[in-house]
């Protein structure tokens, strides 16, 4: 496990991202202490995916800083060694299981490639570690040798998780990683993520619009609306006693037993949408 030099595993300060005229992220700051997990909650256009991409280095912040394990990563990596080191600090699991794996590569080969990238190990050590990781994510040998097209969505996500863990990151970003899965599979993967966290002490950054999933997996949460952070706090508090009107509206929109949607545009709408 990568050493955490400072007190915080991940710190973002004053993050801002502009795409031409559009301000996708406007002055967002948050920290994650070691062993904790953070949820970034928002709907489309909130900027949550942009923040995830900035943390892993797929986008460059217009302003602000991101520090992981004490190393600043606000500017692009200057060397291959630097890029690889950053890869060992933060990893990501994407939303769509059907496009986040190379269709021509089996799970074994995918994991092996990552291991070769980060370690100068001989083949048998890599094989052993690959087998460990495959086992950790709950796949069997046959599945690890199969091509993605023979695997279900849930199985593909497990492969994506194994690939991310092969780099032994301190932070794992889950960008709506369970949103595309069936309910019963989602439960399995959420349990798996909890097990992995217990075993590896990785910190999750969960990007999600699904508040129930957020509750299950995270300690702290920040709520984004149109690029701005409108609320933050302990996940339980934010969901049970939302302070900001947008958070309240978000909370009230979640279907649950006994919930009835009501229209905001009509006068007199609103009998079912209060927070229980």
């Amino acid at each position: 496990m990568t050493e955490t030099n400072g007190a915080q595993v991940l710190r973002a300060a004053g993050l801002r991202k502009e795409f031409g005229e559009l301000v996708a992220v406007d002055d967002v700051s948050f920290e994650i202490p070691p062993g904790q997990s953070l949820a970034i909650v928002g709907e489309s256009g909130s900027g949550k995916t942009t923040i995830a991409r900035m943390i892993v280095g797929l986008e460059r912040p217009t302003h602000g800083t991101i520090t992981v394990c004490g190393h600043d990563r606000s500017r692009p990596a200057r060397s291959t060694r630097d890029r690889r080191r950053r890869g060992r600090e933060v990893q990501i699991v994407f939303q769509d299981p059907y496009t986040s794996l190379d269709p021509r590569q089996s799970a074994e080969d995918t994991i092996d490639e990552v291991l070769r990238l980060h370690h100068g190990w001989p083949a048998d050590r890599r094989r052993a570690r690959t087998a460990e990781l495959v086992d950790l994510v709950g796949l069997d040998t046959r599945q690890s040798r199969a091509l993605p097209r023979s695997l279900s969505g849930g199985q593909r996500q497990r492969v994506a998780i194994a690939r991310a863990l092969a780099a032994e990151p301190a932070v794992l970003i889950l960008d709506e990683s369970v949103a595309a899965l069936d309910v019963s599979i989602q439960a399995q993967v959420l349990n798996l993520l909890a097990d992995i966290r217990d075993e590896t002490h990785v910190s999750y950054v969960l990007i999600s619009h699904d508040l129930a999933v957020v509750r299950q997996l995270t300690d702290e949460a920040i709520v984004l609306h149109r690029g701005k952070m409108v609320e933050r706090g302990r996940t339980a508090r934010v969901l049970d006693h939302p302070q900001h009107p947008y958070t309240q509206r978000l909370r009230a929109s979640v279907p649950r037993p006994g919930w009835k949607p009501s229209r905001r545009d009509q006068p007199g709408g609103g009998e079912g949408n209060s927070v229980p």
Binding site: G57, Q105, A160
Partner: protein, 289 residues
């Protein structure tokens, strides 16, 4: 002579035959034709029963007799021998064109897709400029620079085809480049080169294979046309395109066999290569799942 430069999108589909067995048979026949043509291209000079270059005007235009299965051509040379030896330049030329244009086309497409932005704009504009030159014009220019012969024609055609290859592949390259699995590899810290060589290009393989085989067919026809015009392979060298050119007067005089035989060879190889290319395309698609 082809006027339009082909792209994979224009590929003729040979699905006319409905039964599975028939299409399987066609695939086998095509593979056999291509294998035979390749074999002949390599061993042609050893297989030729007679000297393909020795003229004997007293034998001109004599039809199939004795050991001369296809008779004699305009200069009294054995047609079969000339076909066998001519396979060399007729097959080699298109092969060189395909290799050069495909490799450079893939390179430009992948670089443009990977770096996007300015690099893509510059590459695309450069290719557009090259687009403007028809193959024949480039052949004339190349001949002026390198002298008449197969090399000049092959270079000219490679330059003419390259922008089309790059344009077609650029779309596929962009599509693969924006897939999350590429992003995942970038986040891992893999280098651009290794991602492009190990992941991007292999996933474009179906399209690359399809484009390469179509290009081979058109290159063969285009090179034959260029030789026919006198710019490519120079007579008296044996070459299928040259043979059509040399023997064309025979068609109206009632001795069509020499020209026709060369034409049939070209057509047979082009069709066979296209069919084979389609099979390879399907195979490559299946590997992706």
């Amino acid at each position: 002579m082809s006027t339009g430069i082909p792209t994979a999108i224009d590929a003729p589909r040979f699905r006319a035959l409905t039964s599975v067995r028939a299409t399987g048979l066609i695939g086998i026949v095509s593979a056999a034709v291509v294998a035979a043509a390749t074999f002949v291209a390599v061993f042609g000079p050893l297989l030729a029963p007679y000297d393909p270059n020795l003229p004997n005007l007293s034998l001109a235009w004599i039809g199939p007799t004795g050991g001369h299965l296809l008779g004699f051509d305009v200069q009294g040379r054995d047609v079969l021998s000339r076909l066998l030896v001519g396979a060399q330049t007729s097959m080699l030329g298109p092969l060189v064109v395909v290799l050069v244009s495909m490799i450079s086309g893939v390179l430009f497409a992948v670089v443009a897709a990977w770096r996007r932005g300015t690099a893509d704009a510059v590459i695309s504009s450069g290719l557009d400029i090259l687009f403007a030159f028809p193959g024949i014009l480039l052949a004339v220019l190349a001949t002026a620079v390198f002298g008449a012969g197969l090399l000049a024609a092959a270079i000219a055609l490679s330059l003419a085809y390259m922008p089309y290859v790059a344009r077609v592949l650029r779309g596929a390259a962009f599509r693969e480049r924006s897939q999350p699995y590429v992003a995942a590899l970038e986040v891992q810290g893999a280098s651009a080169t290794s991602i492009c060589l190990r992941h991007l290009i292999p996933n474009m393989l179906p399209l690359i294979v399809a484009q390469a085989t179509i290009l081979f067919g058109y290159a063969m026809v285009d090179l034959a046309a260029i030789s026919f015009l006198g710019l490519g392979v120079q007579p008296p060298r044996a070459d299928w395109g040259v043979m059509i050119s040399e023997n064309q007067t025979g068609i109206v005089q009632g001795y069509p066999l020499p020209a026709l035989a060369a034409g049939v060879c070209i057509v047979a190889v082009v069709i066979a290569v296209n069919v084979l290319g389609e099979r390879l395309f399907e195979r490559a698609q299946a590997a992706r799942g």
